[in-house]
Symmetry: C2
């Protein structure tokens, strides 16, 4: 048993899709979430800036006594996971390997697609991991830089003409490549799942990187006997670097529950 | 004569549309530009965060000996101009009043439209200024939160179906209200000028807030006899808070000239 909390962070709100899955799968765990809403998005920034921001995010989380840190951010996972794992004496879990494991288990044809931010695609981290786990796989990858601003502006519903046009533009190469599995390599993208499924059809399995990462966390806690003694009613604390009120208002979209008044603003550049 | 430089800043690259106009109109002036590309965009953030970032931007610029500061950012101009003007003993020029003056001079029917970021529209600053200068004007205002990410991803050309769909959605209320003048209240928007003009037609005059603001700077320098002794060949220095290489590569879109290798990265959170 280990009653310490799990720390989770993301560049903004997207990581809450992983928290949602964490609450569903491990309802007794205490969670501390930090969303860097004052500096979101990370995905188009340079690697040095992403690493600097990620170090500050982890430094803030580690002001709490944690048993593990989840990087619920595709961009940070692909750019800074190795550095953060080396610098911190506790398990640091990113989204890349879990998502690739799920994709490799799901694919029948070996044709795997990957969508993510510019930084995620440029890093090549997903492709490298696919090649390690399934050398014969064919990977088609594409950066979808407008997906994050679309989601953050509430534009993700199927039937929205602008959403449909963008999804069709970004995903045409995956239809052409006849992938049977698509990794959603950014924790914002699960909100676009219905619109993406409507375009690609039922034959394509969609892997949410946040959900896959929670599988890994659950296995880790099980294997090391590090689960919380509680099996229900874990405590959740939410922090953001921009207005906590705005965070609370938007969080329900990603989290699926109302946390108005429960979030707190912190000055991340001081960490 | 006053040979000190003019400081210009923006949340990112958009302010370069004002620098372009500054170079065209006042080619002898020295310019120091800072683009906060490590924290762009400001437009959806809370007022406290915008004010904090704007103070740091000005503190960095004031490490140079300046004769004036131009806020080439609609969001900062509407949220923090009064504070910055009070705190700094040199002229601080925003984009709001100059753009409204141009719009009031241009309109024949008194029906004026305004587009900007969420923060700009929420501030009500443009409407208040219009009411002061032209009490009988009818103002139609709309936030266009996806315009900045579209422009930053190079999506602004007329003929691009996604751009045309978004422009038609955002600007339909202005067609309906039969405005004859539209204020582009964000320095990113001039890049969308052709697409906007194609939708609204020739009868609508488009006012670029950055260009209008340069008119005010030119008048100020003239009135106070503060022009640079040079009439050509002003020095320009460019700084950014994210990768200088990325800045240089993108800057040419906004500036209309190549400044690869001329930009320098700084750590804005230290100011």
């Amino acid at each position: 048993m280990d009653d310490r909390a799990i720390g989770v962070f993301d560049s903004g709100m997207g990581g809450l899709t992983a928290v949602r899955e964490l609450i569903r799968r491990l309802p007794g765990e205490d969670v501390v979430y930090f969303g860097d809403t004052g500096r979101v998005p990370y995905g188009g920034r340079g690697a040095d800036t992403i690493i600097k921001y990620a170090r500050q995010d982890v430094a803030f989380l580690r002001t709490f006594d944690l048993k593990a840190i989840v990087i619920a951010c595709g961009t940070v996972s692909t750019t800074a996971l190795d550095i953060l794992a080396r610098e911190n004496p506790l398990p640091v879990i990113g989204v890349v390997e879990p998502a690739v494991r799920s994709a490799v288990a799901a694919t029948r044809t070996g044709r795997i697609g990957l969508v993510g931010t510019k930084a995620t695609i440029a890093s090549g981290a997903y492709e490298r991991t696919v090649r390690e786990l399934m050398p014969q796989a064919e990977v088609t990858a594409r950066a979808c830089p407008l997906f994050v601003p679309f989601v953050e502006n509430g534009r993700y519903q199927p039937g929205d003409p602008l959403v449909e046009l963008l999804v069709a533009e970004y995903l045409a190469p995956f239809r052409e490549a006849e992938v049977d599995t698509l990794i959603l390599g950014c924790t914002h993208y699960p909100l676009l799942k219905d619109a993406i499924a409507a375009y690609l059809g039922d034959g394509v399995r969609l892997i949410s990187s946040g959900a896959a990462c929670v599988d890994t966390v659950a296995r880790l806690l099980e294997e090391r006997d590090m689960k919380n003694a509680k099996t229900q009613g874990g405590l959740r604390r939410y922090f953001a670097s921009d207005s906590a009120q705005d965070f609370g208002a938007l969080a329900s979209i990603f989290l699926g529950e109302d946390i108005q008044g429960q979030a707190q603003q912190i000055a991340i550049e001081n960490y």
